[in-house]
Amino acid sequence: MSTQIAPPEGTDRKELDRVVIRFAGDSGDGMQLTGDRFTSVSAVFGNDLATMPDYPAEIRAPAGTLAGVSAFQIHFADFDILTPGDQPSVLVAMNPAALKANLKDLIPGGLLIVNTDAFDNNNLEKVGYTENPLTDGSLAGFQVYEIPMTTMTVESVKDTGVNKKEAERSKNMFALGVISWMYSRPLEPTIAWLEKKFAKKPHLAQANVAALKAGHAFGETAELSAFEIKPATLAPGTYRRITGNQALAYGLIAASVQSKLPLFLASYPITPASDILHELSRHKNFGVRTVQAEDEIAAAGMMVGAAFAGHLAITTTSGPGLDLKSESIGLAVSLELPMVIVDVQRGGPSTGLPTKTEQSDLLHAMYGRHGEAPLPIVAAYSPTSCFWAGIEACRIALKYMTPVILLTDGYLANSAEPWRVPSVDKLPDISIPFASQPNAGEDFWPYLRDETTLARPWAIPGTPGLEHRVGGLEKADGTGNISYDPDNHHLMTQLRAAKIKAIEEEVEPLEFDADEDAKVIILGWGGTYGAIGAAVRRLRNRGKPIARAHLKHLNPFPKNTGDVLRRFDKVVIPEINTGQLSRLIRAEFLIDTIGINKVRALPFRAGDLEQELLKIMES
């Protein structure tokens, strides 16, 4: 850990293996952009990295208030890392609000860079500081760089012809310049980017570039600590950064291409899922149809309609929207048509904490429909895995003629990672044939099943001779005619369950990674993958033998799940909920589980997990 703390002084570049920086300022201060630029440069430079934005809650609060603080955290390193970092080792605070909101996270002895210009009485009062923390000694435990960033920025841009407001707005580039010098990031890519962005307003480009350079020069002149983080050794390939939401959108487009079906998305905006809709609506040249429906029920209904019509039909939402889609998903189960419902989980219950993350919709996805209405559940586990998850969910939906729920979460959705771009010709062919002729003598029976998959045929409108009606009333297996026969209902209930259960035959077995002598296995699912990995790494570094496994299919479970878990004395399940996977594992396998459950609507910290696991291992 010591390598994370900046050395007190010296212009020699000290080598670090990893750094976690958090940029924090007012919503209007451009912190997301600053973080994003720094990330981009670091990625191209070759570090491994992970990022996490932390937007203010929903609406833009008045400048300078706590509610208005916006932050962006980046973790970058010379090795493969797994999370955006528990706590920053470096905090850039552009105003008192940013300091107040974020200081508690900075590691002891960490480096604090403040824009002193913003620490006037007015701003201090707004957030309830009675004393100026820069002078009252309360920051003694940190290494503080006080920089009058606004003044210096304004000074540096004075020849560019920008007005005062524009000048002050450039201070985020000044901050970026400072940090770039300290962590030896090149300025050129950002200069090029600024020039492109402000191509139509050259004076703004000039001012931003001037501020950036001024910050860099200041770092050098003031002999701020300087560090070097070597590139990580990543697998060869072409890389790009990608967030979970974007990766998922790409995954769905890929599924469309690989299934040779046009993509149809009906969705209703909701945080943190909206960006999937936004991204997909940009790719009309792929034949992607996007509909912003009047509500989630309509979106789900449109999905059902498009599936009936022969499209690869998708809807995306978050918790409250999933509630509303329940009835339509139940219809989809009864119709046995392929479609994918994406739920980007956020803090609940009810409106809850809409911009935050949680894993609390698993049981809802599993059971949140009246009657017996089973369906497969797939979960992404890292931002880039959303690409895979999108394809996998579509593959299962099409092969088994069933709606599939795909779970991601607010953390995965907004966080970015470097992504090794897959080669398109390695992607699986997931196409299935439409029914094209009668299957029962002269007749077409819409519920005559495939013997292996139990899937029914998909006959789409436009196909002469296969006209048929489907609906939510119970239907006779085979003919699909309405049936109130009790035994048929029992049969259909069993068939619908068996079809989903049958998927386990081709779900890849649960991989696990166990040290010799490991007595404890940590079982995870979803977005905790990185944090669990980092915690396991730490335990191993301490010489503690441990095993881990991560579920990507939540229904059905991989066939070997029970066997894997039974090898160990203790099964520990960390979840950002009160124990939902635990409940499923216990019910399914009668295996005792130990939950680590923090429902803070934030990702786990690897350090906290490490401590909790240690306690469990030692008890």
Binding site: S40, A43, V44, G46, L234, A235, P236, T238, R240, R241, Y250, I253, S256, V257, K260, P262, F264, K284, N285, F286, G287, V288, R289, V291, A293, E294, D295, I297, A298, A299, A300, G301, M303, V304, G305, A306, F308, A309, G310, H311, S328, R420, V421, P422, V424, P433, S436, I460, P461, G462, P464, G465, L466, E467, H468, R469, V470, G471, G472, N481
Partner: protein
């Protein structure tokens, strides 16, 4: 059949309409399922009329989809030998919007009831109309919940005594025509289960309209609300109370067409004796007027079907259909950006290479 590639039109697997559209008969549109409405239900007449007119529309069964919600009326799709979805309560317009916007090559019909379409499904209905989705919407208005055995509906008259309102309902009903017009509907009509000729002609016009066609069909539920439309169907009312709207013609009705409709200087539609008003002062009906105010005023002639009531097409104007607009965007995106190239997409943005 195009088996390859990801086809913008979503027509993979679809053959072109087989020949012989001209030779279609009513039987081609009747399914083999036993019809299960109560004997005497107005739904039978509507089914007969629709099955009768389908062969004339020039669209083969396989290109036709019937979508419904839940209710007696919503059993309709089972009786049509076309593609069909018997959906869930109130959601037919949403399901149908999915079908119609995915597949502009299909003709999509929605069959709904006054409860299905105006109570639980009201929002989807008004949004489908606003968007002008290419749907032919048939609202079977029997002013009652049939399937759940007789509760009042949003079109039941005030004071209605039903199972759920033993002391009479206290809410004011919708006028479905006014509501549809307020929701920007481009084609709005009303007809009657028992008037097969009129029903058929209105349906034919609706089918020809590109965009949303909304038809309110007064339908008698002889079990739970018998005689609700007696003012229009009874011996006497038949000739006195049906105001047939005909485009381009002065609106006259009643025995010897002795009554008519005119617009008052302050913007109301009112019924007058033709003799008094003078033929020239009668309102000449204009379906195609862009401004829906005239159609709206006509819809207020009757609050409920208890006296003189307009039947026919209130409004029929052209406006781009939703699916067509979407289709246009897909085509022009493909034209401008070239067809989607997955590899190029995945490799877009700031990329870097590790060797």
């Amino acid at each position: 059949m195009t088996e390859s590639g990801n086809d913008l039109n979503g027509t993979r697997g679809i053959t072109e309409a087989g020949g012989g559209v001209g030779t279609l008969t009513r039987d081609d549109f009747a399914s083999d399922q036993e019809v299960r409405w109560c004997p005497g239900c107005g739904d039978y007449a509507i089914l007969a009329a629709i099955q009768g007119v389908m062969p004339d529309l020039g669209i083969p069964p396989e290109k036709t989809v019937f979508v419904s919600g839940i209710g007696c009326s919503s059993r309709f799709p089972y009786y049509m030998n076309t593609y069909g979805v018997h959906g869930i309560h109130g959601r037919a317009p949403a399901i149908a919007t999915g079908i119609a916007s995915a597949r502009p090559d299909l003709t999509v019909w929605v069959v709904t009831g006054d409860g299905d379409g105006l109570s639980i499904g009201g929002n989807h209905l008004i949004h489908a109309l606003r968007r002008n989705v290419n749907l032919k919407i048939l609202l079977f208005n029997n002013q009652i919940y049939g399937l759940t055995k007789g509760q009042y509906s949003p079109t039941s008259e005030e004071g209605k005594v039903t199972k759920s309102t033993p002391f009479g309902s206290v809410d004011h009903p919708f006028n479905p025509i006014s509501l549809a017009l307020g929701a920007e509907a481009s084609f709005v009509a009303r007809t009657l289960d028992v008037d097969r000729k009129h029903l058929t002609s209105v349906v034919r016009r609706a089918a020809a309209h590109r965009g949303s066609s909304f038809i309110e069909i007064y339908q008698n539920c002889n079990i739970f609300n018998d005689g609700a439309f007696i003012a229009l169907t009874g011996k006497e009312g038949r000739s006195t109370n049906r105001i047939y709207l005909e485009h381009g013609k002065p609106i006259r009705f009643g025995p010897d067409a002795s009554k008519g409709v005119r617009i008052t200087p302050d913007g109301r539609a009112e019924i007058v004796a033709v003799g008094e008003a003078g033929d020239a002062n009668l309102l000449v009906h204009d379906e195609h007027r862009d401004d829906p105010s005239l159609a709206f005023a006509l819809s207020r002639l009757a609050d409920g079907p208890t006296g003189p009531t307009p039947l026919g097409i209130f409004r029929a104007v052209d406006r781009p259909a939703y699916g067509d607009g979407m289709e246009h965007q897909l085509r022009s995106a493909a034209d401008q950006q070239g067809p989607g190239d997955l590899s190029r997409l995945l490799n877009s943005g700031d990329v870097w290479t590790v060797n």
